[in-house]
Every structure is written in structure tokens, then in C-alpha cells.
Amino acid sequence: MRHLAVGLFLLALTAGAYRTAWSAAWVYEDRATLTSATTTTGWQRVITYATWRLTPTPRAAHLLNLMCHLVIGLLLAILARRLGLTALGMWVVVLLWLLHPLMVETVAYAKARSEQLVLIGVLLALIAASGRWWRPLGLIGISGGSLFALGSEPSGVVVFLLVPLMVWHRQHAQKAPSWASWWMPAGVAAALIVAGVVWYGGLWAVVNVDTEAGITSVSAVTWWQWGLAQSGAVWHWCRTVFWPAGVTPDLDVDHLSPLTQWLGITMMMAWAGLAVRYSRTRPLVTLALLWMLCMIGPRLIVQTPRSYLNAAQFAGAFMGLALLAGYGTEQWRQQWTRPF
């Protein structure tokens, strides 16, 4: 009953905060996306484009984005509980997801729905992977979630990193049959990634561009320059998570300072170091840190479609931070309620 009340309260807060989305018009690339959805054929973004054809008006599109936002909140709550967070930790995760200013782009900007759909697919796969993944229901959940993520946006490929990570994290949570070793999903995912890269035209095509014209246009951008720029964006969004003053829809990544870029690189290296440091004592911290690295990592090297990291694309990494916040809150509470 108490959980229902908290859930309804958060639902009311979210609906109230986003009330202006009902009457909002298309902005920026919304119209272009709608045109693409109605004219493009093929399997890429097939799920995203199907949702756009179902919601041709701004009101319907914004309503669907809000619904997706709430669904992701629910899936996050389920996953948080399954990972062992208490009710307090779970509600902190959900609260941050539903009402953090950084998440506005995924909700109020209709074009960002593709990222929401990817996250729905990834979370479904992760919930399945966190249980008895070797059983038929688990395998169906992982396959279905992965296909949903990949059919929504190419960035859904992160599911091939996160599912093995989750299986590894949960390897001691339940007894698996001898044939279902924790490394098996990692092997399958690696094989699928290699097959996908070969099918797509080789590593160069994947990490750089997907057309001849594109190769010409970005040949002057080295991997290092690209990685530095993206690292600067990572630092900016992380700083915004902790103190959202000045958060803006039109971040100019090209004008972020070299200091910001190096801070981003240093921070990600610190995440990796802390993930190793806490792998035995605080495995959930390790999971959350590696989660963020898996969500961001591909964007540091893949230049297609040459999109700087935006708030919607950072949403996946934000989930890792939210898990850390939920875990930290319950640890803090235990510290203060411990008898002297």
C-alpha cells in the first residue's frame, strides 16, 4: 500500500512537471524524423519508425514519449529490486530517472524516443539476464529485448556488452547448470559483434562512417580528436547530473575546453579503477560503473553518424549513476540508523 502511494505520488509529480508537453509543437528535427519514418523502408530503426507512423501529431508523439519514460521507470524499479536494492534505494533510482532535468530531452523531445526504445529493450534483456537466464523464458527475454533494442536504433548494440556484464555480476546469485557458464553469453555476444562488423563492411566502416561520401567528410577527424570531444561531453553531462545549473538543449561540444576533455578521460579511467577496486567488496558499485562505461564506450570510437553525445544518448549511462545514488542512499541510511 505504501509502495502504491509513493508510486502514485511520483506519477502525479511527473505528469504535473511535463504538463506543458501536451500542447507542445514539433521542435528542431521532429518534422524531419516524421518524414523519414513515413518514407524510409528497411529494417534499421524499424520499431522507432513504426511508433512515429502511429503518432503523427505532436500531442500523440509527446504522450508516447511520456509513456515510454514511465515504462522505463517501472523497468528500472524491477531491475533495482532484483539487484538487491532496498525499497528506499529503488525509489531513489526511480525518482532520479523520472524527474532529473537531464532526462527532459528524452521525454519532451519526440525525436529522442529512439533512445527510450533502446533503453526499454536493454532493460528487458537485463531483467531476463539477471535471473535464470539459461531457462527458455530467460533466453526469450534476452533475445526479445536485444532485438527490440537493435530494431529501435543502431546504438542498441550496447545490449551485447550489458547482458554479459549482468550475467557475470549475477553468477553467484543462483546456481546454474554446468553447461551455462557465466562466460557463455560473453562468447555469444562477441561472436555476434564480430559477425555484425564483418557484415556491415569491416571495422573501418563501423567506427568511422557508413558511406563513401561520409568517409571523405570525416577523414580529417582522427579517432583521438573524436574521443577527446566525446570525453568533454561526458564530463559535462556528469557535472550536470550532480549540479544541473545551466543545463541547455544546445550544448556546444566543439567549444568545451581541453581541461573539460581531460577531466572526462580521467573520470572514466577512475570509474574503471574503482570498478576493479570494489569488484569483491561492493559488486553493485562495480556493476554500475561498468554499466556507464559500456553505455559510453562505443560512442568514444564510433563516429557514425557523427553525433556528439547529447543528453538523450547519455540517458543509458545516467541509469548507472542512478543505481549508484540508490545504493549510496541506502548505505548512508544504514550508517545513520546503526545502533551505537
Binding site: 512537471a17 521542435v27 509527446h62 532529473h100 527532459v104 544541473p244 545549473a245 556546444d252
Partner: protein, 64 residues
């Protein structure tokens, strides 16, 4: 003045004062400040994404 800024001003100080008075201390003031900051930024971002005027204004100012 921008209506959002007005709303922000209306929200800001009452929350800060209420938080400080209710807690009677520094931590309450800090919490009130943080909650208010996040609420104001949330409101500003939603305004930026749902108002064609705000969107155009931002991009004209940026020169994009």
C-alpha cells in the same frame, strides 16, 4: 521578464526560507537549495523543449 524566470523566482525563495525555518539549520538550507535548483532547472528544460519561441530564441542567439 521571461515568465519562466518569474515562476522560478516565485518558487526559489519561499522554498529556501521554508527549508531553513523548518530544519532550523544549515543542512536544511542546503537541501532546500539543492531541491530548488533541480526543480528550477527541470522547469527551465521542459520550457525549452516545449516552447517553439524558446527554442527559436536559443538558436538565433547561438547563431545556428
Amino acid at each position: 521578464m521571461d515568465s519562466t524566470l518569474l515562476a522560478e523566482a516565485r518558487l526559489f525563495w519561499p522554498l529556501v526560507v521554508a527549508g531553513a525555518v523548518a530544519s532550523g539549520g544549515f543542512i536544511g538550507l542546503l537541501v532546500a537549495l539543492c531541491v530548488t535548483e533541480v526543480a528550477c532547472e527541470l522547469q527551465q528544460m521542459i520550457h525549452d523543449y516545449t516552447s517553439v519561441h524558446a527554442w527559436t530564441h536559443r538558436h538565433v542567439r547561438k547563431g545556428a
